[in-house]
């Protein structure tokens, strides 16, 4: 009874503080917007996203989506975004796998192996990523020209234009089967025997569909390879630089997390008769994983952001395309905003996925 007016006052105060903070934020945002539009109006410019629908009028060297100069600026930015996502996703996956292996090797009982991994990690982590990138791309540019391309197997060519591989021309059916197979794999445990059958069936259908697809092999025509799929040296250099750099980071995270699990756990596991590997797999790693995931998330986020170093070597990532679009159309502020929004969205998405995974790890551990 006595406490209630105090509490009421406290809640009033907190509402007032929240309100003031909100109002101040709104005021600052309004001021930014107001002075930006004023400054632009002074120079006869205007803000707006209409330019996204206008034709881009420039070509992009490397695309996963169909693109030509007649397509819109929005489409061009989409192509750049897909390039960023592809290189980042592959980079995250590979750096995770390689980093994990390196981290375990770092803890092995074999001194030369430990030394080699340690040397690698120290070297790569202490060299600027940009330098590594420029070094790699310069090395790849040293490959022979297309007319003298290395030709290790049928349909595969390696030249300074990149790695040309045969590509299957996959239709909608194959892609559909791929989705079905992925769903079946994901739900296998819940569906029991039915799930196993569904998985086997869908994977078989997928394999058949890929086997029957028309394969398009690259061949040299004029100055370049046509057909198939060519991965450019810039793509390879960027991917390799990101993987080399971030695998070193991941390996340190893995090593640290494993060493943070108390040594008694290892001794206890060995005492009950588990082998070294079994102790690692069933006792140490499940505990270490919980410490790793938040750090791996921040590593993945920084990998995505580092992929924007692509502009230095001419890989058409989303930053490079947005820069070009902004410069061609004069909408520098809008493209800057989009750049910020895109990286924010990618980072938050990675954070959300790994956060969910981490929560599942914790609940599994509790039950």
């Amino acid at each position: 009874m006595i406490a209630s007016p105090v509490r009421r006052r406290a809640s009033f105060r907190s509402i007032a503080i929240h309100g003031l903070a909100l109002a101040a934020t709104a005021l600052v945002l309004w001021w930014f917007w107001h002075s930006a539009t004023n400054a632009l109006a002074d120079r006869g410019l205007s803000l707006g996203f209409g330019f996204l629908k206008q034709p881009a009028n420039f070509e992009i060297g490397e695309t996963w989506l169909r693109f030509d100069a007649g397509r819109s600026n929005g489409r061009a930015i989409g192509v750049g975004l897909v390039n960023t996502v592809v290189v980042s996703a592959l980079g995250c996956l590979l750096s995770l796998v390689i980093g994990f292996a390196l981290g375990l090797m770092r803890l092995s009982s074999n001194p030369p192996l430990r030394g080699i991994v340690r040397g690698y990690v120290e070297l790569v982590r202490n060299v600027p990523l940009l330098l590594l990138l420029l070094f790699l791309v310069a090395s790849l540019h040293g490959l022979p020209p297309p007319s003298h391309a290395l030709h290790p197997a049928r349909g595969i060519y390696l030249s300074n234009r990149g790695l040309s591989l045969p590509a299957a021309q996959l239709g909608v059916i194959t892609l559909g089967l791929l989705v079905v197979a992925m769903v079946a794999v994901a739900l296998r445990r819940r569906l029991g025997r039915v799930g196993d059958a569904a998985m086997a069936l869908s994977i078989a259908a997928l394999a058949a569909s890929v086997a029957m697809a028309r394969w398009d092999a690259p061949h040299l025509r004029g100055l370049d390879f046509t057909g198939g799929r060519t991965l450019s040296p810039e793509f390879a250099a960027l991917l390799a630089a990101l993987v080399l750099h971030h695998a070193a980071n991941v390996s340190e995270v893995v090593r640290g997390a494993i060493q943070a699990v108390s040594a008694g756990q290892q001794d206890a596991a060995r005492a009950v008769g588990l082998s070294r590997w079994q102790a690692m797999r069933f006792v140490i790693l499940p505990q270490a994983l919980r410490a790793m995931v938040p750090l791996l998330a921040s590593n993945a986020v920084s990998l995505v952001k580092n992929s924007s170093l692509a502009v230095a070597i001419g890989f058409p990532d989303v930053v490079s395309i947005l820069n070009t679009t902004g410069n061609q159309t004069g909408h520098a502020i809008e493209t800057m905003l989009m750049m910020g929004a895109i990286y924010l969205a990618l980072s938050l998405a990675i954070g959300a996925v790994l956060e969910r995974y981490n929560r599942r790890l914790l609940t599994n551990a509790d039950t």
Partner: protein, 347 residues
């Protein structure tokens, strides 16, 4: 990352005009139409350039030299009879417009092509065309490509943020051929990509190709194809909204062309000063009422010729046959000598 940061800073300073003091001051001055007095009060001209051999490079002593640089200096000479009262700011192709719009520089003399979208949609105003150029191809001699059409499928090195990317795409679509663009901003990396064979071709404006060729390890192994497939009228750029400043820039550029047309050079300026030809007397400020507007020294045209020479002398010194670029005059000769340079009359 550095570029991203710079672009961000430029965008931010555009966004808040009051943020950076000096930049805000001259940007606002331009909006009110008094940039000329703001520059006078400041005592130095801020000129945006793009570093390129023959156009703008620092010499051994760190002094900027080149074709574009000399025109920046001409503006300073017209104001103060002092070619050193210029602060040069080198921009990349992608930074240059935000650099101008944010008030970081008063004028761009950096090889920017005059185009409709830049004038009508981006709030930029162009002075007189001081170099007529066109986009072309630089290829290795071993390719044996005599026409661009023989370059189907070629990997083409191109710098981002220029009309070059656009013109290249247009050219390929018009001729039904395919190019694979390799977009690299840094000119040295671009040259490296060509000399290593990553690209078959560099495309740039003709003058840019001449510069780039001098940077290659074996310039003789490369050839500039004669075909030009775009119009690149190079002109100085100022912000929209300041007629007085634009007029000043216009007439300084034209004065160098008019001097060449009259045959007035650094050497014979003294002889012309006592000329009886009324047109020359008016041009050199010996008679009042023609060159003394905008509060300028009536002798400003004579000062420019004395300090820097006429258009032809500026051209020969920086781009001519005696230089590494060895660009033929071509279209950049006076109108009465088979070229396109045509100054309106000084009267």
């Amino acid at each position: 990352m550095r570029r991203l940061l710079l672009a961000g800073v430029a965008a931010a300073s555009m966004a808040c005009g009051d943020g950076t003091h000096a930049a805000g001051e001259s940007a606002r001055a331009s909006a009110r139409g008094t940039l000329l007095s703001a520059v006078r009060a400041r005592g130095t001209l801020k000129c945006g350039i793009s570093q390129a051999a023959g156009f703008a490079t620092p010499d051994d002593a760190g002094r900027w030299r080149g074709f574009d640089v000399d025109f920046c200096r001409a503006l300073a000479v017209a104001l103060w009879n002092d070619p050193d009262k210029v602060i040069f700011t080198p921009f990349t192709q992608q930074q240059r417009f935000s650099g101008l719009q944010s008030g970081e520089v008063d004028v761009l003399v950096n090889g920017t092509s005059m185009t409709s979208s830049r004038a009508l949609r981006m709030g930029l105003r162009f002075g007189p065309i001081y170099l007529y150029d066109g986009q072309g191809f630089l290829v290795a001699k071993t390719l044996n490509a005599s026409t661009p059409a023989m370059l189907d499928g070629a990997a083409v090195c191109v710098q981002p943020g220029t009309t070059t990317e656009l013109t290249l795409a247009d050219y390929a679509r018009r001729n039904g051929i395919k190019f694979r663009p390799v977009v690299i901003e840094d000119l040295r990396s671009l040259v490296g990509a060509v000399s290593s064979g990553r690209c078959d071709v560099i495309t740039q404006d003709g003058a840019g190709l001449a510069t780039t060729r001098t940077m290659l390890p074996h310039p003789r192994d490369f050839v500039i194809l004669p075909e030009r497939f775009s119009k690149e009228p190079i002109a100085p750029v100022v912000r929209a909204g300041d007629d007085e400043w634009l007029a000043f820039v216009n007439w300084v550029f034209w004065s160098t062309m008019q001097a060449e047309e009259f045959g007035i050079t650094q050497q014979n300026l003294a002889a012309h000063a006592s000329s009886t030809d009324p047109a020359i007397r008016r041009f050199l400020g010996a008679e009042p009422g023609v060159t003394d507007g905008l509060g300028l020294d009536p002798q400003w045209t004579a000062h420019i010729i004395a300090r820097l020479g006429n258009y032809g002398e500026i051209y020969e010194r920086n781009l001519g046959a005696s230089t590494a670029l060895a660009l033929p005059r071509g279209m950049n000769a006076p109108w009465n000598a088979g070229g396109l340079l045509y100054s309106p009359p000084f009267r």
